[in-house]
Subunit: 148 residues, 2 copies
Amino acid sequence: MEDQVQVFQEFLSRKGLKLTRPRREILDAVFGLHEHFDAPRLHQTLRGIKSDISMATIYRTLPLLEEAGLIQHSLRASSRDVYEHIYGHPLHVHWICSRCSKVQETPLNSLQDQLQKEAEGINFNLDEVNIQVRGICWKCRNSENEIQ
Amino acid sequence: MEDQVQVFQEFLSRKGLKLTRPRREILDAVFGLHEHFDAPRLHQTLRGIKSDISMATIYRTLPLLEEAGLIQHSLRASSRDVYEHIYGHPLHVHWICSRCSKVQETPLNSLQDQLQKEAEGINFNLDEVNIQVRGICWKCRNSENEIQ
DNA sequence: CCTTGTATTGAGAATCAGTCGCATCTTTCT
DNA sequence: AGAAAGATGCGACTGATTCTCAATACAAGG
């Protein structure tokens, strides 16, 4: 439990930065959410709970969390910067329905090995993988006739 | 040559819309660029060449091109809406270097088949695939020691 | 416990992308 | 040429993200 705090802490000191109250609260909020989020939503969440951390601080902290490998940019349907926390989560594929915008996730499985091989082929030091697939989910396929 | 014009033309008339001068010029500009682009860059390009098509028109046209299957949303490092034209291009993997931000592309190859299989597994009607991999490219790996 | 240098923060201004409403053109069809 | 429907440009507007800067908080040394 609270592994992510350690990770962040270590990352910060390695860079000569400090784990301050605002940073800690943002970290907690991020790992308290179990969905994708963006800066405004995070701000709302934090405000709801207790503190009034400024947008500026949130926008400053997210890149740090990303650099520390705790969160990653997620693919987005909208035009905002969307993140999700990944520490302790396996990499996955996002299946995005073009109709209802719902997002399902499945694990990478064997795809990862292949990507790894290709990475070696071009001498690329692979860090993160994001796979986004768009199409129509089964629910919408079924109700396709009604709408159109 | 100029296949994309036909495709767009047909798409438009199917929807009762017209292939106007601005739309045509945007289409040309899009297929004249051989990199990823966003609305502002497109605007700049168009301005440089000749016409003064408004941002509003560009923002209205891009979704049409997307719906026509001529371009697709690309994954982005920044916070803007980035597109690339795909008509006549095979699907590919984006290799993004976290250090120098350069983007390389490789074809999907066998990954596509696997995704297709997984799609069938969850009864998902696969349309588009975007794969983004982040890491460090060979150039940056080599010069890693110097900077740090 | 005080001092000092450095990192941080909040608030608000400033940007910038993307959207919208509307009066004015274009295109198409007759 | 005239009418109807679709398009466009302009400018206002919204909302996200960045920037600036003065005020704080913190760690280390005295």
